[in-house]
Symmetry: D2
Subunit: 101 residues, 4 copies
């Protein structure tokens, strides 16, 4: 399944770059396929892989924030592999050109 997630800190400073860097370090070291974007990180794996990774990120950020809001969006379509790259490629084939990524 594909999942996008983001972690927002409440009651800390206005910037979240340090927290996002911590999240992307954990995601990168997990070995799961991922793509970062300005609003969140998309990962691909089975439920336990994906949720285990998000749990680690959530709990790491919670270590020095009094409150966090984590959003997760899952697109689960069994039998379709490698959707983290194929989903947009199939759109680009329809459009006959690349989109901005």
């Amino acid at each position: 399944m594909l999942a996008e997630f983001s972690v927002v800190t409440v009651g800390k400073g206005e910037g979240m770059g340090d927290q996002i860097a911590k999240v992307l370090k954990i995601v990168d070291e997990s070995g799961l396929p991922y793509k970062a974007n300005p609003m969140g990180t998309v990962i691909e794996g089975d439920w336990d892989q994906v949720m285990g990774l998000i749990k680690r990120c959530h709990q790491e950020i919670l270590k020095d924030s009094p409150r966090i809001v984590t959003s997760i969006s899952i697109d689960d379509r069994p039998g379709k592999p490698n959707r983290i790259t194929e989903k947009l490629k199939s759109v680009e084939r329809r459009l006959g050109r690349e989109v901005k990524k």
Copy 2:
């Protein structure tokens, strides 16, 4: 922590009442505190309780849908118990009256 989730079926019929009924049956039988609303269900528990319950709902709906989109929003503020009722009550105290629920 508090979490709200919803499950949307893709590639099935236009209505989702049967699926929402299945989800609420699983949630109700879990014993976790919950509140249903027209756009999702709010539950309260620790990470593994909450995510275990959402996983069961997700996988039940996936049994007869070719694709589903599950959205989860988590508000985690350690040390604050019973937020599923207290959060809105503290807002109502500020407003000096009840809000519609």
Copy 3:
């Protein structure tokens, strides 16, 4: 259409009760049908009514927060009126009992 929204403040204090109270005051005075829950507020109306109301709430909270994260989820099914109450009622009819709200 039905829409649920929530506003999260970043770079302010850990609590958000004052901000949620402001939002619910604006929502209540708008006259649109609404239901508050511990994670957000569900409203019903056409696109411009719903988005106009969320814009007012968003901009009010932005007045004294350096950064806010607003989430909106829309369920649009034309031709189905009064879904803010009917959607859960149709689920309760399937279950043969009321759910917790």
Copy 4:
């Protein structure tokens, strides 16, 4: 402000490539800065630009779907320009390397 949005069709086929292609065509022609990812599209502009664009996409997809679920996540931090590229760059500076995008 930055906003990410996605449109999910309910009561249509299992695939959504045609719909996503329509959305990205509208987004691309709008002239607003955007970045597509496997779970949604991030755009940058003021409230009316962003919401006007999402409204056009939402209504285009609604033309031939009986029901759609549109999700919008907004990160509004006034006074910070060009966040659609700068937000991840500031994370990459912290990490000392590029992330996968």
